[in-house]
């Protein structure tokens, strides 16, 4: 028999009487006595009624109960000043990714994008907190062994190198907030009956990042991206020997596309197993350009 805390606890249970409604209880400290009023010590709460009783003044800065000015006014800005206006890319480490693949949360035979990552149920994006996607960090790059077709929203150089060393493919692409709302909880979005939106182009201060082939941006020139791959391989000292299957390489996402296989403008009804596509030319044009 294995020894451990669990085994010891179960062995103890074998020796005590049968557990019934009458011999179970909650953890000690769960029941706290109800605090009642001040009783006869109420009204002035120790601050006295007459001049003779009011002979103590409280701590420095005390203003007879109201919040003192030195607490109301702060010297510094709040710690998270401006957080509502900052675009966030919460980190996703290579270690987490490898763990999810090893525990069958992610399927390596299919492309991995934001919808797939959020669909595992272990990686979360909250658009209300200005979270615009995942930032692939290099934590666990030495352990990373999987060959993946990956699409994230931000990636640092070493993470890109770790993915490409195993023969995988990585792209960074921009999802505006409505696209994040759609992709981060795909089932919820599909149930709401909205047509799939088209992804917007990155804003000014992010355009440089996604046009840069060194970041494997989706708006970069593919030829330059191949060159940068070789440069990175030389920098970190590995050779790209085996590549992804043709089947996986065929998965390409249009810059306006959120989900693989679904185009903007379509309405998907999962319950009825039907897709409704727009017929009018001007509507089609809006969604496809």
């Amino acid at each position: 028999r294995m020894s451990g805390v669990r085994e010891k606890a179960l062995q103890y249970l074998r020796e005590v009487p049968r557990l019934t409604h009458g011999n179970i209880r909650n953890l000690p400290g769960t029941r706290t006595p109800k605090k009642r009023g001040y009783g006869q010590n109420g009204k002035e709460r120790g601050w006295g009624a007459s001049a003779r009783q009011k002979l103590h003044f409280g701590p420095l800065g005390y203003e007879s109960g109201s919040t003192p000015i030195q607490r109301k006014t702060a010297f510094e800005r709040s710690y998270n000043y401006g957080i509502h206006s900052v675009r966030q890319f919460p980190p996703l480490s290579l270690y987490q990714l490898q763990l999810a693949i090893d525990t069958n949360r992610l399927d390596v035979t299919k492309p991995i994008d934001m919808a797939a990552l959020c669909g595992t149920g272990v990686f979360f994006l909250d658009p209300s907190k200005n979270q615009f996607g995942f930032n692939l960090s290099s934590d666990g790059m030495d352990l990373f062994k999987a060959k993946v077709h990956l699409e994230v929203q931000w990636a640092d150089e070493q993470a890109i190198a770790a993915v490409e060393r195993n023969g995988g493919k990585i792209t960074t692409s921009y999802y505006d907030i409505h696209s994040v709302i759609a992709a981060s909880d795909a089932f919820k979005f599909l149930k709401s009956g909205q047509p799939i939106p088209r992804r917007l182009t990155p804003p000014g201060n992010l355009l440089e990042y996604y046009i840069n082939p060194a970041n494997r941006g989706y708006l970069a020139d593919p030829v330059m991206v191949e060159k940068e791959k070789e440069v990175l391989a030389q920098k970190y000292g590995y050779s790209i020997s085996d590549k992804l299957d043709d089947r996986l390489l065929s998965f390409k996402k249009d810059p306006r596309q959120i989900f693989y296989g679904l185009e903007p403008g379509w309405i998907v009804s999962v319950q009825d197993k039907t897709i409704y596509k727009p017929k009018e030319a001007d509507v089609k044009q809006i969604y496809t350009t």
Partner: protein
């Protein structure tokens, strides 16, 4: 003064309570997606039916083993051995989770109907709004009405006010753990017996009494099968015996398991129970499911006009 008391506060309180119960009790009346009208095998969001139990076989530790018995004979009759999943039948026992579940089961449907009338309510029903005698020159204490709290048959100042419901829901996973921990305790204390099926040779209640005494089962027995239609003989035999109760799997709960000394599970019940609990422990939509317990089911909102995305 009198028209002010015409509004009946007790009726208002009762209407308020009814509304609260109707809103909050929708949780345990219909769990699940409110937009789903299709049967379970057509429902795309029914994740339990597509759950693959083979991916959740216990990989570490010693598997728990239990005898599989037969009820054909009075004498103990073992036909085989079955392995039980550790995450269901051998967890580290938490008595406080069992306690939480028992308290919830006993109090969620409790309503305290105590209601003490205030001064105004007493006046409304029994009169006495007028000043009983003039303020001065009577030689008596000064009073405004004969229904104030200090009077006999007067109103109560700070009494219980109206029907009070103790309805509350404990979180989804607390309820799942309640089942697993109680099953663990029952199993480790040798109070679980797994049977092949519930076929017995006669419908005589004495047969049941003899089985219980010969096999050393406890004073009360809970028999659980997967479906809610039981074989004829056992239904007839246990009908008159108040301490032997038949229950389908969907009725399994912590309080019943603690009240009954012995728990008899059929093999099909064990399989279905293991599958359902492993699904509950490993589901990827836990966030949405706990929200459902907390806030109740939300109707699917078509947001086409309200939330038009930027095109």
């Amino acid at each position: 003064l009198i028209h002010f008391y015409k509004r009946s506060k007790v009726m208002l309180a009762k209407a308020r309570l009814a509304e609260v119960l109707r809103r909050r009790s929708s949780e345990f009346i219909k769990l699940g997606r409110s937009a789903s009208t299709l049967p379970a095998n057509d429902d795309q969001f029914d994740f339990l039916s597509s759950f693959d139990i083979k991916a959740h076989q216990a990989r570490y530790g010693n598997p728990q083993e239990v005898w599989v018995e037969s009820l054909e004979t009075v004498q103990p009759n073992f036909t085989g051995i079955r392995q039980l999943h550790q995450d269901v039948f051998a967890v580290y026992p938490r008595i406080d989770l069992i306690h939480k579940n028992v308290v919830w089961q006993t109090t969620y449907s409790k309503v305290n109907y105590a209601h003490a009338k205030t001064v105004r309510e007493m006046i409304h029903y029994f009169g006495g709004g007028a000043k009983p005698w003039p303020q001065k020159r009577m030689g008596r204490a000064r009073h405004g009405s004969i229904r104030s709290p200090q009077w006999k048959d007067g109103g109560k100042a700070h009494g219980p006010r109206g029907p009070k419901s103790f309805y509350h829901m404990i979180p989804y996973h607390t309820r799942v753990f309640g089942l697993t921990h109680t099953l663990t305790v029952k199993f480790i204390q040798d109070d679980i017996h797994v049977v092949k099926d519930l076929e017995i040779p006669t419908d005589d209640p004495d047969f049941i009494h003899e089985i219980i005494s010969s096999r050393g089962w406890g004073k009360s027995t809970l028999v659980v099968d997967k479906d809610d239609i039981f074989p004829r003989n056992i239904t007839a035999a246990t009908d008159q015996i108040k301490h032997v109760n038949l229950m389908p799997l969907y009725g399994l709960n912590v309080l019943s398991m603690l009240k009954h000394h012995t728990l008899i599970l059929t093999e099909s019940a064990v399989e279905e129970l293991t599958k359902k609990i492993l699904f509950a422990l490993n589901r990827t939509d836990s966030y949405a499911r706990t929200g459902l317990s907390h806030c109740g089911p939300k109707p699917v909102d078509l947001k086409i006009e309200k939330h038009r995305p930027v095109v």
